[in-house]
Homo-oligomer: 441 residues x 2
């Protein structure tokens, strides 16, 4: 990356028919999207055509009758990413996996296998699973409390990274004549004993093309930010305003430095929910078309879930959001604060709030032209509000097509986004070195 | 299947460079086989060219410096099968997954997702994990005792099958106009509460193309046979002699009938380890070539592992196998008895035994011509010793190529094996109905 201008990092967050709550009702959306492999393959190829750094799949492990259509039924991420790896060759393949409801040995193995199968394109979004009912699917009486989930997560990530070092780069000799298949000195047991886990290892997957898959983290609460600053190489976040984004950017980079890490080796990528059209009016009309598809009961439910299951049914839809107690909810603390601040600052009614929240689930909505979006992206990156964006197309496949066809060319023209992939691995796309194996002499 | 002759069921058990312990040292074997995706894709396509019912991947979750090269490092099965699903369209895609070291929700989800991604070709080989050190990778002090592993396994399988029924076939309406995405009456919580697990559900994957992936089971101990007779639709087994195979066949089918199941809907498929050449002499030479590649320390180690970690180092290699106490070992009971009987009956030295066991790990070795193999297969199927075979090629890729090119045509000619796939799902290949959803009215 020889150009002086700072290069923008771009990921696309793929989710069924798109991120707008009513996207599945739109005529252009294939309503079986979340279970349609050919459809996902086209989305992945479009994103790779646009030279994006990575595609991302979120995940959760508990549904009920109020869950969104994109979530009620969907492919399990590792099987889907492995299938997408067969029709792409450059774009990063990243997904969420829970540290609360899985085992380090399984997660280390699945991402290591994916990294091999994709020639070095795997990335892990570390989550602690915020949906409380998940415990009911895993023989757990109660969902682990917020702080403890992050304590367990930190130990979990350390074990996974340790297992990824089980084999040194040159451990396998494969000498048929001498019969020496591998060098025993270069196979390492981890022998981890900790608060939540004891894991001997070694992992039964050799060192991966990236050395270690890329660690992504999306927590924004105190615990979440600390874990991100300590471990994450890419950080997702929900930031609606330039100033708050700059504050978040600065505080995370400082925290990382305090942990002895190079802040330049951490890419902060807020979500953005772009509704793009040739003119602002056309974009507003596109947005209104989607907003008008929201069924009130669904919209209100999403807002209530978003605020940790708080019941708003007693309040008039066209009245203000009442004063709420953040501590009373075990859900994501950062989101709670974000919604309350926004409601007060912009004087929003519950209907407007649920349309806003339900429409984009609290992420940064952009409505405008390709030029305006490119301007905003450059502004945020150049003023240290972020290092790039995780695109959350409101409607798919249209949302990724218009971005790749109309916004990427502008960014390329301005010299702030690659015209060709410089490398083949996800680490190379982000300018991240291959981690040295802790056991290598 | 209109022909009167009984059709032979055929699966291929893919394992790195092949099942012979020294296969990786053979000049024709790619020594990085277990981590070579293109190589696995070719094997899968060859097997599908031969119209085989299914391919199978074994799995384990603990290695040490004595583990076999095919096992030291390998792809995680779900990611590999999902990649193979993209280059095949008919052959069944089956793999081992442990009921002792995973969670029902994860296993149900991974196989359901694979069944969708492969258009109905998924099968699950239910194992309880016999390698005791596996516990050390999963924070377990001690490996669950044999009988308890099978108790847990039975509950585990029931939960997975219950989760696979979470959604009725026609649960998803996807009516964009009315906004009705699904019929709440056709989404079902399992609410399982049992000895080992409590799992609410529902599963977040819709009903799969097969209704339920196919259940496979390979246990041969008392507990293993009971679980197989109760739940399995395909049964793997190690049978070296026609008579013992017929006894096993009869006892399992009787047991299944006692559990109210139709014995005809259970396919018993013993492993066979075929060394094939144009003449018997050439086949014997091929076998000797592989046997001579066995490194003594490796061979002895495999025999000792096979007998549950018993130490034979004090006994001369060219002397007999000493009298051993089966109860002293926590390994697979059935194997123990099998090896001891064989050693006594055929008066084998420890070297001959380790060559035999190490060479094919106690499975049924066949050395001869394609015609002879076809004769044997027909004899076993026609005399109710089995319903087909799980081919364990000693050397790959050669072993599956010679089988598909030279043995399958003979079986097809004799009218005992399909010339074309009759259906597209694994159930259709086995003539198994699609299970009715327990909640369907």
């Amino acid at each position: 990356m020889t150009s002086k201008k700072k290069q923008i990092k771009l990921g696309v967050f793929l989710a069924g028919t798109g991120h707008h709550v009513a996207s599945w009702r739109h005529p252009d959306a294939p309503s079986d999207a979340s279970m349609n492999l050919d459809y996902f393959k086209e989305l992945a190829k479009t994103a790779e055509r646009g030279k994006l750094d990575m595609l991302f799949l979120a995940d959760s492990l508990s549904i009920d009758s109020k869950s969104h259509p994109n979530v009620l039924t969907r492919f399990e991420p590792f099987t889907l990413l492995s299938a997408l790896a067969q029709v792409t060759s450059k774009i990063g393949l990243t997904a969420t996996a829970s540290t609360t409801y899985s085992e380090p040995f399984h997660i280390a193995r699945q991402f290591a296998s994916l990294d091999h199968l994709s020639n070095g394109r795997a990335g892990w979004n570390v989550v602690t699973s915020s949906i409380e009912s998940t415990a009911l699917n895993f023989s757990g009486e109660k969902h682990l409390e917020h702080h403890l989930r992050y304590q367990r997560a930190e130990e979990f990530v350390e074990i996974v990274k340790g297992l990824w070092d089980s084999w040194e780069e040159d451990a396998f000799i494969r000498n048929k004549e001498t019969g020496e298949f591998f060098d025993k000195e270069k196979m390492h047991e981890l022998n981890h004993k900790g608060e939540y886990f004891s894991v001997r290892g070694p992992l039964n997957v050799s060192r991966t093309p990236q050395g270690q898959p890329v660690i992504i983290q999306a927590g924004s609460s105190g615990d979440g930010k600390a874990l991100a600053a300590k471990t994450a190489e890419v950080i997702f976040t929900a930031q609606n305003h330039l100033e708050s984004a700059q504050e978040f950017y600065q505080s995370i980079k400082e925290q990382a430095a305090e942990f002895g890490r190079d802040p330049e080796k951490i890419a902060i990528m807020p979500g953005i929910f772009p509704i793009i059209a040739d003119t602002e009016e056309a974009a507003q009309a596109k947005y209104k078309e989607l907003q008008d598809l929201i069924i009130p009961s669904v919209g209100l439910q999403i807002l209530q879930n978003y605020l940790g299951g708080i019941d708003l049914s007693a309040y008039p839809l066209d009245g203000p959001l009442p004063k709420l107690d953040a501590e009373a909810s075990n859900a994501v603390k950062s989101r709670f604060k974000l919604v309350q601040e926004m409601a007060e600052r912009d004087n929003m009614t519950i209907r407007e709030l649920y349309k806003y929240v339900a429409g984009s689930r609290g992420h940064h909505i952009f409505v405008g032209t390709p030029e305006q979006l490119a301007d905003k992206m450059q502004e945020w990156v150049d003023t240290k509000a972020c290092d790039g964006f995780n695109i959350m197309p409101p409607l798919l496949p249209e949302g990724i097509e218009v971005f790749v066809d109309q916004v990427v060319p502008i960014l390329q023209e301005r010299g702030v986004f690659r015209k060709e992939y410089e490398g083949t691995t996800l680490r190379e796309h982000f300018g991240l070195e291959k981690p040295v194996n802790r056991y290598a002499k």
